[in-house]
């Protein structure tokens, strides 16, 4: 059978393709030099309505010059471990280009040495889950060089829950019922009309 040899050939080709051609940045190589806090109402937050106020800045215990490479700050909303269970599309991996922990951008802007604040209204495409906030410092080439987050290293403290919008609307529900009713009524109408025509023809 040609199949095993063919398979071997394919595996060889596959091996050539599987090497990535650039050095991947790993999360474990980043230093936690930023301090990030997030303040919000102390209850279940609603997407589209509630606001989160995020502050970030360099941790002053680090020597001056630590932030010489920082050019941009990217603040993101990230999934807490409990919301990653059974959901491989939110998985945390060390290779930052493959990491899916932080999928929502809160704000992105130039880095300044003073602390900065931003007020963010939770967008309507944010799903129901538990979150924390993380900020990445990027260098001139847009590569991550440092980070900070409002929770601890194990991501257990200061987490907050967001409730998504349902996506349902009354107008949609009504349209749905109308279309369905039309379908059933049209079917019954045709059926009865043809039955009546049939019995009339037989008379």
């Amino acid at each position: 059978m040609a199949a095993p040899r063919l398979l071997l050939g394919f595996l060889v080709v596959l091996a050539c393709f599987s090497e990535t051609c650039f050095a991947a940045i790993s999360f474990s190589s980043l230093r936690r030099t930023l301090v990030v806090t997030a303040s919000h109402p102390q209850r279940l937050l609603k997407a589209g309505e509630d606001k989160i106020i995020v502050t970030w800045g360099l941790n002053q215990t680090f020597p001056a010059g630590t932030d010489s490479a920082y050019k941009t700050i990217k603040v993101q909303l990230c999934y807490a471990p409990i919301s990653q269970v059974d959901r491989a599309w939110r998985k945390t991996v060390d290779n930052l280009s493959k990491d899916k922990t932080c999928q929502f951008k809160i704000v992105k802007g130039p880095y300044t040495t003073t602390n900065q604040t931003s007020e963010w209204t939770i967008e309507r495409d944010v799903p129901t889950a538990t979150y924390f906030v993380r900020a990445y410092a990027l260098d001139a080439k847009d590569n991550e060089v440092a980070y900070g987050q409002n929770t601890d290293a194990k991501k257990t403290t200061n987490l907050f829950e967001i409730q998504a919008i349902t996506g349902r609307h009354v107008s949609l529900d009504i349209a749905s019922v109308c279309f369905s009713a039309f379908s059933i009524v049209a079917l019954m109408g045709f059926f009865l009309a043809e039955k009546r025509k049939g019995s009339k023809a037989q008379q």
Binding site: L14, D86, A88, W89, P127, R168, F190
Partner: protein, 530 residues
């Protein structure tokens, strides 16, 4: 003749292996053409078309063909409509991997039962109303997606939408009332393959509609709900077209059929018995789960797989996923053609080898798809996998008509159910659990395909042999006549009920391949024209 002429599965097309597969104008000299009937196509004495003109919409035959396959196509679109937008739905409804997998299983399970009921509905109401009833009563289930807000609701709605796949039965039944048995195999095969393409078309359609609605201003979690109005509307449109443009029979509608009570029907219990006690039936029920079944499973998971693994946009992932289902246009007929070509040289043994090769290659490429780490290799392996699996579906139905003459309808139905069951099983085992990533699931599914295709080596016909064994040299038991007439008992043979089977046996001698001339004539063979 005890069997109904033209009843589903009574096709003789392709039986001799010498008829051209793509016989778009099989003007069979054996079938007398009724020249008094005024139809666009030549018809036989029952006014069934003897010619298949693909690009015609002539009433009633070709119009029925197009109404029928498009209805089936529409139901495939709505059954798999959720698959390409799962990345949005899973965030809206907070689904876990198990929920997504269970919904996929649910979407293919409902039709196992609805297909069985549909046969009875077609008998009672006719195929036109069978089709229209199903397609219009399942449109509310599609619209129900706008109400769904929990995982349970999502699974329930996908289950209900899945019932609509029973249009397969009404499609095949309706074809058999309109087309002569000499071409019904080709007609039904084309209709089935083109209907299956809906599983691919939906992966293109739904992300496109979703994007348009998003650009019109809707939020993601509302846009996907609105998108479902498109397949739902297709149901209503097709239902109305079927009711207004369709007719049950070439001469009119069902009421006239009910006057034709004089055709003797075979006993259902006997037909069922001979289907169930033939071990080859069960091997093919198993096998079809690993060609059609894995095709349906892949329709459900491949778009989400490409979206997550390669970080593609929803529409890009959908376009790639669509090529999987759309390959049905050519791949499935190719499988049937390859089977016929092999039969010409090697007879039934050739058909069995072709099926094994195609289905096993499908499995190998599925393994490769799971292990592909780059986008180009993944796409290539997916396309090769689709060709293997879909051609295997076509090749399966190149063999099924020979398993039994008497019980062909039930065996076809059981095989079809096996396909859906295989789909539910593979989704449950590999794509509903966090034990495997989707990539690993695909790899293991490929391994399972290769393993569960091996039983085809056990299929042995005494008159033709099997993959590894030659035909029996016994002068009585090693004949086609003996095989096919063994489905009738002495009493039935006395009444001459088995004449159709004998005629079939005679024609099936071509399944010996090129050794036809050297086949010994059995000592007590009944004359061909009794």
């Amino acid at each position: 003749m005890a069997d109904i002429e033209g009843s589903p599965g009574s096709s003789m097309h392709g039986v001799t292996g010498r008829e051209p597969v793509l016989a778009f104008s099989v003007a069979s000299p054996i079938t007398p053409t009724d020249t008094t009937a005024k139809f666009a196509l030549p018809v036989d004495s029952e006014h069934k078309a003897t010619v298949f003109k693909l690009f015609s919409f002539a009433n009633p035959h070709m119009r029925t063909f197009h109404l029928s396959w498009i209805s089936f196509f529409t139901c495939f679109i709505s059954t798999f409509a959720a698959a390409p937008v799962v990345p949005i739905i899973r965030d809206n409804l907070n689904l876990t991997k198990q929920d997504i997998g269970n919904a996929g299983v649910a979407s293919v399970s409902g039709s196992i039962f609805s297909r069985l009921a549909m046969g009875a509905v077609c008998d009672l109401l006719g195929p036109r109303y069978g089709c229209a009833f199903l397609i219009m009563l399942s449109s509310p289930t599609v619209f129900c997606m706008s109400f769904v807000s929990t995982a349970g609701g999502y699974i329930a709605v996908r289950f209900m939408i899945g019932f609509s796949l029973a249009t397969f039965v009404s499609c095949q039944y309706w074809m058999s009332t309109m087309f002569n048995s000499k071409i019904i195999g080709l007609v039904n095969g084309t209709a089935a393959g083109w209907g299956n393409m809906g599983g691919g078309a939906t992966q293109l359609l739904m992300p496109l509609v979703y994007d348009i609605i998003r650009q019109a201003g809707a939020t993601p979690f509302t846009a996907w709900r609105i998108a479902f109005f498109i397949p739902g509307s297709f149901h209503i449109i097709m239902g109305i077209l079927v009711l207004t443009l369709g007719q049950d029979l070439p001469d009119g509608n069902l009421s006239t059929l009910q006057k034709k009570g004089d055709v003797a029907k075979d006993k259902f219990s006997k037909v069922l018995w001979y289907a169930v006690t033939n071990y080859r039936t069960w091997i093919f029920v198993l096998l079809y789960g690993y060609s059609m079944g894995v095709e349906l499973s892949t329709d459900n998971v491949v778009a989400e797989y490409f979206y997550d693994r390669f970080n593609l946009k929803l529409r890009t992932a959908g376009t790639i996923a669509a090529t999987f289902g759309m390959a049905n246009l050519l791949a499935r007929p190719f499988g049937g053609y390859a089977s016929d070509v092999a039969a010409r040289y090697f007879g039934m043994r050739g058909r069995l080898w072709v099926l094994w090769i195609l289905q096993t290659l499908g499995g190998v490429f599925c393994i490769w798809l799971g292990r592909a780490n780059s986008l180009p290799t993944a796409i290539l392996s997916m396309i090769l996998f689709s060709i293997g699996a879909q051609a295997a579906c076509g090749a399966t139905f190149g063999i099924i008509p020979f398993i039994s003459r008497r019980s062909l309808g039930i065996i076809s139905g059981l095989t079809g159910a096996g396909g859906n069951f295989g789909s539910g099983l593979t989704q449950l085992l590999f794509f509903s659990t966090t034990r495997f990533s989707t990539a690993e699931g695909l790899t293991w599914m490929g391994v399972m395909i290769v393993a569960y295709t091996l039983p085809v080596t056990l299929v042995h016909f005494p008159q033709w042999g099997s993959m590894f064994l030659p035909p029996s040299k016994d002068l009585v038991k090693g004949t086609e006549d003996h095989y096919y007439s063994s489905e009738w008992n002495e009493e039935e043979k006395q009444k001459g009920l088995h004449q159709g089977s004998l005629k079939f046996a005679e024609n099936s001698r071509s399944e010996r391949g090129r050794k036809i001339a050297s086949a010994p004539t059995p000592p007590n063979s009944t004359p061909v024209h009794a």
